[in-house]
């Protein structure tokens, strides 16, 4: 899978994102790193923030398209 569909899913889940990045870590289309900075993540714990990302990517995570996912999230402040 290319990074585009993942980016689309994340943009839909985080329309307020000030930073949104998806990197294919190995070039193999299954190990990804995502970075999301968004005001809607403010005040949430890291576990809650990562859950939002997992929820947004539940389909490619569930069907095995994403083999490994690294997540970096921040609120806006």
């Amino acid at each position: 899978m290319s990074t585009d569909p993942l980016r689309t899913l994340l943009e839909r889940a985080f329309p307020d994102a000030t930073e949104l990045d998806v990197v294919d870590r190995t070039g193999g289309g299954d190990h990804f790193q995502v970075v999301v900075t968004a005001p809607s993540l403010d005040g949430l714990t890291l576990v809650e923030q990562h859950r939002r990302v997992y929820d947004a990517l539940s389909e490619p995570l569930g069907d095995g398209t994403i083999h490994e996912l690294r997540i970096k999230t921040r609120g806006a402040t």
Partner: protein, 119 residues
């Protein structure tokens, strides 16, 4: 055969529990290794469970925790996160702070690694 009761026992009954791929002596996954190394740097007394012997272990764990990926780290029954979060918390010093708060100042003196076998 269900693992859920044992999984809950480990989560609730351990100071620090990590569900990982492989054992602390023979780690089978880079992310499990990242989380374990961060816990070791913080001096955490770790109880480790290998999820690889049976895919059902991971399914039941995720049903309990609501967390889709491995590793999963718990402190006193509460999900702290996966490799990225544990690494981030260790680097900022917050992991050690959390361990002191929940386990008491002497947590590092109880430092040990215990492996629990399921499956």
């Amino acid at each position: 055969m269900s693992y859920s009761d044992t999984i809950r026992d480990v989560i609730e009954g351990s100071d620090v529990a990590i569900f990982m791929k492989g054992t602390p002596q023979f780690v089978m996954c880079g992310n499990s290794d990242r989380a374990l190394q961060a816990l070791r740097r913080a001096g955490a007394p770790v109880t480790a469970v290998d999820v690889l012997p049976d895919p059902q272990i991971r399914q039941e764990l995720t049903a309990i925790s609501g967390w889709p990926t491995i590793p999963q780290v718990f402190v006193k029954g509460e999900l702290v996160g996966g490799a990225d979060i544990v690494e981030e918390l260790e680097q900022s010093g917050e992991l050690a702070r959390t361990l002191r708060e929940r386990l008491g100042d002497e947590f590092a003196s109880a430092r040990e690694e215990r492996a629990v076998s399921l499956g």
